[in-house]
Symmetry: C2
Subunit: 451 residues, 2 copies
């Protein structure tokens, strides 16, 4: 496979063809490319040009392109389309993608679009999906699936499958239901291929099947599908009726988005922002966290100015404020990140108390190592007095231990309260540890130096 | 589906049964559970107990369990097994998993194990896979796949598929090759089901097929499979011969591992470490980064002690050192995280210069906002002089701009040099920005206050 590389020449060529309204050449050129590549191209065009291409190409292709686009660009393009043009695109989409896109439209347009969808059962399926919260199995599932009844024969089943397969892009699994539609199990393709024509499905299906309820949370669905290596999972309603299925590609997207969000939170960026986003979006995503950091800095300033005696009599202690601050921040981030990840992966086992003991031990080893180095350097390089050096060393150990315990407890506390523990990493924990660390440092100095 | 919950009672029950050597009850109890659940259970047992269960249960189940286990525990269990016992497990595994596990064994045991694998072609396939680097398509692929020749008829094809399907757990795609084994395209199951028995495959196969070369890097494979929504991708050698296929579940694992590694690097943890890991592993993963932070702290100490005039004549400026430091660190992490993520997702487009301009503008807006607040507070709350306040304000703006640009450039520089840019986030960038920020602060104060 030749890797598609979006070049400036290609973009310019397309822009020129749009300008010239040379539809024939444009269609011929673009039909060579995969829809995902065309979506990438549209991301580099302005919204009018992108709309032009969406209107030009076949809806079989553009429906796929629309799904791939950035939310923002898609919104701009959809704004330029009439309800019937949008409905035309939705005709070609799987129900889950169609429902996601309808959900993005304004309420009054939603109705107009749904009314113009050609196939009434496709429209009804989409409307049904709109009922579910997007972070649940119901919000992730598609209605398209291959279902067979346990009373059928293999021959009848193959006949039915051929018919159903028309609407299903990829056959992941064949689900078996009873007459009422209740999920009973699944059928392996291998067994279907090797069984005799007149065998009944009830004799060959596998009754053990993993499934989720429409209300199961998305992260639980992701966890189950990963843990049990599933490529698709059926979704049932509260009565056990098979209503849809979730495929692994939706879960891949979900996992990636979650990981990116956690990463951004840890870095102090509060929403989905990319390097190429505009000034307003960037500022909105970044400034709030910098303000938290600023508050911490002002807190630290208050503490330092309140220990006036240090400013006056032990100014050398101030030299090590940045070191204390950096250490407290780094330890806090390390500890909290491990807990956040453990919570996300559901790998956090054992007792809280045992974990705190282990964390304290690790902190003690790290703390003593760093304290000895700094104590020696402060005394021999920066000529601090014995007692000053001792204060610095003991402060480092104490600060590391406290920062580690705080870093452990805050995410756990947030998690218990139902708040996403990932917000606890990054600037939040650094800032609180900064202030806390400096205060602890000065307090220990006060005790040891006796001022 | 009832969610499996690993309870202490269950663990104790299993441990008791192992102690009593009650094999029958143990087998009956465990056969109710999915292999992934049993793997979770083994994670809570000691290695002797875990080995006992692996030896007890059927290798069809234990081979799956072994794949799911933590590297460490698996190593301990394999140490307790003879080469022929290990070979017995490998018989049941797909070639990709078997190769991964063999690669973990000592060289002299590897050979003994391979010699004892029952099926010589399975053994040969595994040996073949061992040649590839684990971060390439060759290292990720499995040999199991369904391949048909273009010259066959539909009837012959179905016959062959039944035979081949024996060795393939899940049929993802049917690949079509020429007589020499060169990949020609793929066959849709739908077309196979609906075509006439005597139709030739050459008439109905789809010649457009995405594929990767054995040497393609793993992250490129992940990118392609995600972008084009593929659930499996065929792998060819340098001559275009079909040699294996990669399935999406391996990519899901890869994506998760990469995301976790980046997250840990950003948090200053240098290897795969979990909350429940032991003291040595935790210290090894965390201490190096704390030492980097310490170096930064000592650098800051050097700078402060060299500006003795500030210590003596403008001690109030020292009050704001933590604020400057925290701000520089936070801005640096934000900027670098956005770039690291852009590089990882391949979404970084446009010119470097334009990006630097945009980043500088964002930094300017954030900087001015924070500077005004701090300038006012420093003057009215901390009673700094006009010139001192001005120094602080200007320093904040300058530091934010520099930190943003540095945060942008360092990951890009590392990326160009072939180093993983993710190492540039976290303690690394915080530390350098700390030192840099404080130096800039004092320099600006020196210029404005004229000492």
């Amino acid at each position: 496979m030749i890797r598609f590389q979006l070049t400036n020449e290609f973009i310019e060529q397309v822009e020129k063809l749009i300008e010239d309204r040379n539809d024939e050449a444009l269609t011929t050129l673009l039909q060579e490319y995969h829809f995902a590549d065309i979506a990438e191209l549209l991301g580099e065009l302005d919204s009018d040009e992108a709309t032009y291409i969406v209107k030009l190409l076949d809806s079989e292709v553009t429906s796929e392109i629309l799904i791939e686009l950035d939310d923002e660009l898609r919104e701009q393009i959809l704004d330029n389309l009439t309800p019937s043009e949008i409905a035309f695109e939705l005709n070609e989409m799987d129900t889950d993608d169609a429902a996601d896109i309808i959900a993005e439209l304004d309420d009054h347009i939603q109705k107009q679009v749904i009314d113009q969808i050609e196939d009434p059962s496709h429209a009804a399926d989409i409307v049904d999906l709109l009922r579910y919260d997007e972070d649940t199995a119901g919000g992730l599932m598609a209605k398209e699936l291959v279902r067979v009844k346990e009373t059928w024969t293999v021959a009848g089943c193959v006949r039915e499958m051929r018919r159903q397969a028309e609407n299903v892009t990829r056959v992941h699994s064949i689900y078996v239901t009873d007459k009422a539609g209740k999920l009973k199990g699944r059928l392996s393709l291998k067994d279907l291929l090797t069984a005799h024509e007149r065998t009944h499905i009830s004799e060959i299906y596998i009754p053990k099947v993993d499934y989720v309820n429409v209300h199961t949370e998305a992260n639980e669905v992701a966890r189950v599908m990963q843990k049990y290596d599933l490529e698709a999972i059926p979704v049932v309603d509260d009565n056990g009726i098979l209503v849809g299925r979730i495929t692994i590609d939706d879960i891949v997207d979900y996992i990636k988005e979650e990981a990116e969000r956690d990463y951004q939170l840890a870095a102090g960026i509060s929403q989905d922002v990319e390097a190429d986003d505009g000034l307003f979006k960037q500022t909105k995503a970044r400034l709030p966290w910098l303000l938290i950091g600023m508050m911490g800095g002002l807190g630290a300033a208050t503490i330092i100015s309140n220990f006036e005696i240090i400013l006056n009599d032990f100014p050398k202690l101030l030299i090590f404020v940045p070191l204390i601050q950096a250490t407290a921040g780094n330890v806090g981030v390390q500890s909290s990140a491990i807990i956040v990840q453990g919570l996300a992966n559901d790998t956090l086992k054992g007792k809280l108390f045992a974990r705190i003991i282990r964390e304290t031990t690790v902190a003690l080893v790290n703390g003593i190592s760093i304290a000895i180095i700094v104590l020696l350097i402060s005394h021999f390089v920066f000529y601090t007095s014995y007692l000053e050096s001792l204060s610095i060393g003991i402060a480092i150990i104490t600060v590391i231990i406290i920062a580690a315990i705080v870093g452990n407890l805050i995410p756990l506390f947030l998690y218990k309260k139902g708040i996403d523990p990932a917000v606890a990493t990054g600037p939040f924990i650094t800032t609180s540890n900064d202030v806390f660390g400096i205060f602890t440092y000065f307090l220990i100095a006060k005790l040891i130096l006796g001022f």
